[in-house]
Amino acid sequence: MSKRSSPNLITRRRFIKIGGTGAVAVLAVACAPAAPAAPTAAPAAPKPTTAPAASGAGKPGGQIRYAMNNEPDSLDPAKTAQASAFNVMMNLYDTLIWQDPVDLKYKSGLAESWESTPDGLTHTFKLRKGVKFHDGTPFNAEAVKANFDRIVDPATKSPQAASKLAAYQSTTVVDEFTAKITLKTQFAAFYDALSQTWLAIASPTAQKKFGDDYGRNPVGTGPMMFKEWVAKDRIVVVKNPDYNWGPPFWNHTGPAYLDQITFVGISENGARLTAFESGEIQVMETVPEGDFDRLKKSGKYQMVVARTPGSPMTIFMNTEKAPFNDINVRKAIMHGLNRTELINAAFFGLYSPADTPIADNTLYHSKKAVGMYPYDMEKAKKYLEDAGWKPGPDGVRVKNGEKLVVDFVDLTTYEPKVVATQALLKPLGITVNVKALDQATRVAMGHKGDGHMFSTALLDSDPGAIQLVYHSRNLGGFDWSRIKDAELDKLLDDQAKEPDTTKRAALLEQAVMKIMENAWSFPIYNFARLFGVSPKVKNFRTHPIGSYPYLYEVSLE
């Protein structure tokens, strides 16, 4: 993972490293803050991308095999940042509150009700009674305190959960089922954070019992209980027969339908596909785009495109290195790289184009910057000419004897994206070198600035997450464009603290405009997770943010 930024009052979001390990899951978006005291001039809510639950009918029983594209590193919510871990943990744990995927409001989970003080620093939660962990110990305020204290404890070295609790100060156990959480500063996305599985409540007894091994022996309150984890092979979870405290928006109450879920990590696309098409696995995550098309046309499967909010898949241009230190060259890219063609070529047209840093299904998406750089080859060429890059004898542009050559570094899985970019920029006279490498290497190169173009998406319900790639404190981390703009920094810092949604929207809009005007990055498409689902699987519905399925709702026909 990237280097941790300096201690901060500001929320930090991370990414899902698409297709690789170490991802940050998305957090539930706060549409309107749940705290009744806060002002609510909410900007227009983004359209939800999840349908309401089909009415409860489902046969209990059966098991499914679910293939992700890598194995989690740990099932301790405090100690992992991987998307695959989030996925499995959603079944093992509950959070205090849940975000409703349809109306995007916060609903009860392990907390039945809550209120906060007007200054936004103290939040009191009334907890549900009668909830037990899988090891039989009771869930109560002590458990909440133990979990949160453990997360922020430096000894835990929490990669993700701690950043969600950056503003956390302490929890007071008012009585057995009342917990009062005190924050150091205002935290606009606090409820958003609480609804994320990173802050799910684990059994403190089990944590003490297993110590460092707890990640391999998870104990929560969730609808599924951990059964076994055979390393590099499978993780098996089984139905929790006592479960009766899910959020109100799920399609039924009581225990889950499925008896057992087996999670397997198959990193090779071909292998995952074969396993899916042969019926060996019932749900496949991350379907290669070409095969998605083919599978859909066969009519045999449910092929699901689950859009995720956040920041679109974007190309970052290293502003510290020539030629991208020149804004004219960057603008040439903005006008000259045909987004739609790129999506067609590399992704079989499955994704929707995006041209601003905040995706259109995300809170505070502003229309102001949309269409700032329409595709215009001539304009692009002019920018290059004005910048002094003249076409050479072989078509490649030259300036002061230097050829216009750039290295585009990306994940091997995304080679088509890079190759398509290479082909599309050729007519502009730009030579792109394809550097498709493994996750660890390419992330390191991005951090170091060892290349000219890098790419990633941010999956997060909270648009403030863009600070991870645009704030100067992340230079040497995920600020892959190597931006050091004090004004932008201030805008990003302020929006994180701003409780008033209208003001926050305005701040983010200014930030987005600044980013676009400076042509610091080229957004490409809105990220979506592609699933292949067996026709036998019913009620497959995804979480609006990370696009993980609510396997609790799933039943087999």
């Binding site: 090779e268 071909g270 074969t274 490498l437 493994d438 660890a440 290497t441 390191a444 951090h447």
Partner: protein, 307 residues
Amino acid sequence: MGTYILKRLLAAIPILIGISALVFFSLKLVPGDPLSAITGDAVIGKEEADRLREQYGLNDALHVQYLSFVGRAIQGDLGRSLQFKRPVIDEIRAQLPATLQLTAAAMVVALTVGLGLGILAAIRPHSLLDGLTMSIAMAGVSFPSFWVGLMLLLIFSLALGWLPATGTEGFERLIMPAATLGFGAAAIIARLTRSSLLEVLQQQYIVTARAKGLSFVKVVFRHALRNALIPVVTIVGLQFGNLLAGAVVIETVFSRQGIGRLLVTAILGRDFPLVQGVILFVASVYVIVNLLVDLSYALIDPRIRYA
């Protein structure tokens, strides 16, 4: 006999030393800060970097570094992988069984198919059978192994659905990789067996045996084959090395666990400690295997012992 063994053993030692030197010094050729070859791209402060340099002896004279490298290697310490953050030896140990399984299975294929084809061709030289078997052998030597593997995948896995395409466990997943890998070696063995057997069959003592009335089959198997196989045994050791090398590609094609794939991952990930460790390991194994083959060669052919 004893002196022969001793001589060969002693001869192997300078080779092993040479290999270790080659591997060690070639890594020094990699451009950039030698520390990054150990730490990768982790961001380290200056004091930390200096401390690590001391710890890894990067400030020592080259020959001192080399000696400690060898010393550690003998004890099994081949450094830490940058990508997997584990000792190299652990990674190798984890991946080795799958490769051994593959190589052994491929060798079985190579020997049975190769000897079979070669013998068939030799007993009916210049016949249709001969032409056919030798054409197959020619294909085996000319067709890229990774292409053959992909074609098998296309046919048996994707089109017919008979065999799984990827993975390491189980006999089903061993068939195609072993067949692919063995095919190339089988071809070489077939050609050599044929020419060697043909030559032997023309020898006087064979002709005599047949004149005496011994059945052809008995002649071939009792007398001719033993001598004909001598050159074949020689190349078995060589073929083992080729199989190991071929495993690099085949494991990639079939997404199998193994040393080969480990090496490719290491190279693409610029994980130099891992690259170094794997190459050193594989080369050493190769030398030892060849040594064993040479020794067994001496067992079979008495003429060698007294050479």
